[in-house]
């Protein structure tokens, strides 16, 4: 298997050995990753709530999105960096972890959902916001995003309970 051999190679690198020998590298990266995902998902969920009409109703959507998108992208870059380092410290274990696969899948779905939303219905946001009702397609995007991100948090946490981990 191609992917498996890549993971095996990652596990054989010097970087991987350094990560494993350090008592601090993994917990530090793990803490950054956990706090970061909470903030990124928190920002995204606020937009989702707004789309679903659950909150921030008096805030113009375009202003909210303009504020959130750069912050979310920056936070996400941090997530990817810390997540990549965590992954490379135990690549083969991740390859065999069902929770990790689900997480990657959910991340892809969340990304596609956001991309489609921005490329389609959000393009003419000026025509429907502020308005009495958020269009169904925008509400659907908000609902899906909410589900995907809660799923990403859940799957991320579940990785630590997967095969090969000590429940301590």
């Amino acid at each position: 298997m191609f992917l498996l051999s890549i993971c095996q190679w990652i596990d054989s690198t010097r970087f991987n050995a350094v990560m494993r020998q350090s008592n601090w590298a993994f917990p530090t990266l793990d803490t950054i990753h956990t706090l970061g995902i909470v903030l990124v998902a928190g920002a995204i969920m606020l937009v989702d709530f707004r789309l679903l009409g659950l909150g921030l109703r008096s805030v113009p959507l375009a202003q909210l999105v303009a504020r959130m998108v750069p912050a979310t992208l920056a936070g996400f870059a941090l997530m990817l960096a810390s997540g990549g380092l965590l992954f490379s410290s135990e690549a083969v274990k991740m390859y065999h972890s069902p929770a990790f696969r689900i997480k990657v899948l959910l991340l892809a779905l969340a990304g596609m959902n956001a991309l489609i939303f921005h490329r389609t219905i959000y393009r003419d946001v000026a025509n429907w916001d502020p308005g009495a009702v958020v269009p169904i397609r925008a509400r659907l995007a908000g609902l899906l995003s909410l589900i995907f991100w809660i799923g990403i948090i859940a799957a991320g946490r579940a990785i630590a309970y997967g095969p090969g981990y000590d429940l301590g």
């Binding site: 793990d30 921030l56 504020r67 579940a158 309970y161």
Partner: protein
Amino acid sequence: MTALPLFEALQHTYVGETIRHSAALIALLEIVHLVGLTLLLGTILMVDLTLLGRGIGNLPVSRIARELNAFTGIGLVIMLLSGPLILSSEAVRCYKTPAFWVKMALLAIALVFHFSIHRKVAQAEPPVPRARAERVAWVSLALWFGVALAGKGIAIFQPS
């Protein structure tokens, strides 16, 4: 006199024993706890950023704070329900882990601060002077990040 017997009793309750012996339940509770944290930290961060002059457009902080209040509350309730359940599954270990006590102390301070000074400043109309708003925002961020970091610390630092 220590509180250790209390923690031992908590761990030996039916709920504590049940959760302790179910990896799935522990995982589920931790996920719920994290989702609650997402709501709590996400909304508080937003209010604090607005206090720091980095909010949404030119919207006043009082409006943002009012709109987000309910979500902060929901996040807090989720955490305060799931937290003690997680605690009951490993009460004795928590008792012996300094990070747990640091977290509880910071949490108590953060809660008092949040529902007194922070709330008053965030909802003030007209807004308080910028310098005071910024001070309050930094204290709030430091306290809540401290709570979250200490929480992570409970998992990382095992009692010696």
